[in-house]
Point group: C2
Chain length 422, copies 2
């Protein structure tokens, strides 16, 4: 039945209020401000704070200028409960954060730290962090090196923040559904009723090409209730999007495929032309993949297709390298040579050149050899970007294998089955 629009708005507002502390994130550094380095620290910190039930209302980034840093710290000190700062700690001339923080708080600098600041130890690097109050705001300063920052955040900063929250602690729980094969707008359309069915839940869709991720957020005091709510919302979403979902716990496609192969004690061999090694690179990113991944032949030249994969010269002559028949022989060849349960192949045109009227850039043929026979499919994608094509070709191939391993269910009987294959 659901709720009216007004009720939804009231419920949303109540949930928003349930988040008790607000935080800001500040990154300092000329290289980040000028765009030379992508700031991945701020997104990482935001995720961890949100998970701890703290609302992140603003990120900022400024260059290595002492007055600018001091000015923005003073601003934030008057606005937020918590600020987490990265960068500018250390001993070089660009490391101005401690002095800027002292200026912002109107205290002296003593032995490299603002007066009254507490040092935060760095277990994996040389530059210590520190904690101090700026106005009413609790300010945590960490080094900008991602590995050092992450360690200090989890070991020292987050536990202290949890202490600051005390008994008034609220939780923010997240459930993430990973999909391949539906566009962002198609997903939006399918889950448009989520807000009336589950007004307590805030959805977010983010595209990490070629995957799409639906995130479901819930805020509140009772962790168990939140998780129950999220579980139900997740089931509802899965019914709407069906088999395109490949995981509900953040697992990558290659991890999901790997788990399915392990479950049935099967092995895989790959024959890649246009994906150029990307499928094997992804598969072997999973620790323990040597249990099921045996071999990939990246056969760019026709000679290698014939010599390594036993593709028949006649097939190449009759159909060309990019064809369903060639894809079939490649998949069968890889499977046979490696003695694997499955053989998976790609042959296509990633671009920018090599396209023809009949086989334009974005064409890919994918073969899948199984113990019960060999299938092959042709797809046409509309990207004129070599790197995007490689990714979507490789992901499509892995998704075909995933669906094969799930028993290629055409009708959704049980949503849990789609995800876990159990």
């Amino acid at each position: 039945m659901g709720y009216t629009r007004l009720q939804v708005r009231i419920i949303r507002r109540r949930i928003e209020m349930a988040t008790n502390m607000i935080a800001e994130i500040l990154a300092s550094g000329d290289e980040i401000c000028s765009g030379a380095i992508l700031d991945s620290n701020s997104a990482h910190i935001a995720q961890k704070l949100e998970k701890a039930g703290i609302k992140v209302v603003r990120h900022s980034c400024v260059g290595d200028d002492i007055n600018t840093i001091a000015g923005i710290l003073k601003e934030i000190g008057g606005r937020a409960d918590i600020v987490v700062v990265t960068g500018g700690l250390g001993l070089t001339a660009d490391d101005l954060t401690a002095e800027a923080a002292a200026n912002a708080a109107g205290v002296e600098l003593q032995t490299m730290l603002p007066k009254g600041a507490e040092s935060l130890c760095n277990l994996v690097g040389t530059a210590s962090g520190f904690f101090m109050k700026i106005g009413r705001c609790s300010a945590f300063f960490m080094p900008g090196v991602p590995s050092e920052m992450r360690r200090m955040l989890s070991d020292t900063v987050l536990p202290r923040i949890k202490k600051l929250q005390g008994n008034s602690r609220k939780f923010r729980q997240v459930k993430e559904i990973s999909l391949f094969g539906l566009t962002e707008s198609a997903i939006s359309e399918r889950i448009t009723d989520l807000k009336v069915k589950f007004p307590e839940i805030k959805p977010g869709i983010c595209v990490r090409f070629p995957e799409v991720h639906i995130k479901l957020y819930a805020n509140g005091e009772n962790k168990k209730n939140l998780n129950e709510l999220l579980k139900n919302a997740c089931k509802w979403v899965l019914k709407k999007i069906g088999k395109s979902a490949f995981s509900v716990d953040g697992d990558s496609m290659e991890t999901v495929v790997g788990n399915l192969l392990r479950r049935e004690k099967s092995t895989i061999a790959v024959a890649e032309s246009c994906t150029g090694g990307l499928i094997s690179h992804w598969l072997t990113n999973v620790p323990g993949s040597s249990y099921y991944f045996l071999f990939s032949g990246v056969t760019y030249s026709n000679k290698a297709k014939i010599k390594v994969l036993d593709v028949l010269p006649a097939t190449l002559k009759r159909y060309g390298a990019v064809h369903e028949e060639t894809a079939k022989e490649m998949a069968e060849g890889a499977r046979r040579i490696a003695g694997a349960t499955y053989g998976l192949s790609t042959t296509g045109i990633a671009g920018p050149s090599g396209g023809t009227t009949y086989k334009p850039v974005g064409t890919v043929c994918i073969g899948l050899a199984t113990p019960y026979g060999t299938k092959s499919h042709r797809f046409n994608f509309a990207f004129d970007d070599r790197s995007m094509n490689k990714k979507i070709f490789a992901m499509t191939a892995l998704d075909l294998l995933r669906r094969e391993l799930l028993g290629n269910v055409d009708e959704i009987r049980n949503v849990d089955e789609i995800i876990s294959g159990s």
Copy 2:
């Protein structure tokens, strides 16, 4: 000879002043603010603005809240000459930017745009951008979808910004040197005298693991003079860092290696164990790589090493899979099967498991078969991260091939030779 510290500071200050307009960047969106999506737009915009001679002093990011967006736009309107905003354009409930901009400027919203705003057309998507003044600040609003934003930025926004600069236009030129094999601190030490030799140039070092990039920035009115200055500084830096530099024009390692192979009309075949296809993935990311890249055998299992690459079972039995001898046979096998000029191989332990006392995680053996014989090397890296190990193994292998193709110069006679191989 150089300059004194005081002179350096004065020159730096003068250059800083030469940059005439200051800009800020604002990203809006709950998914960015909560860290679910990494904001790559802001870094891209910053790079382009800096290149146009405009100093970026601050980036900010806020969630989809109309009051917050309006508030920060008003702030920026009072501070900056230019603001470039991304996100929140379109027709859904979260798309609040136009209304927020109208609030900030104190104007009405008319047919979806703030009164007086000019629409900026979107050639690759549905949501138009717009331009308006907020206070004294020229504000450009663009969609958050990276491909749409990039197109609108280059086609519409940057040309308008150049017009705003008028005759007072300053330039900011950059030279980028890409390195592999030296740490950030080793580089800092070697180029520490840069600031006294070339006080007009501001250096920046950024790590994109496993590469390191030295950026040299110069600001001023005469583009030709700036480029001459940067060229001299670049030569100076190259003398200090030597063969570790692999490009001075932003080319990737795989592009450099590809160009060297093309120049001598050579071909390459690869045999990968621990790198799992990453070397071939990188090599085939380069358009036109099919001219020189013939084949890669990703031989995870010993069986595949024997069957596909003709590695002798006796070698595997005597030395094990991770050994210089095995690496040699793998490289020779790949070279022979594909009929390639060079064969390159990797076999090692990427982790997290599989390490022993004698062959700990991070051990890799790399083989290089050439028309004049086969070499192999063993390296030990100290990372306990599978993905980092795969990257540094693959990059080390490509770097060995690069040095071979350059004639393996041991002494630096001519810095140009190191880079271009000419």
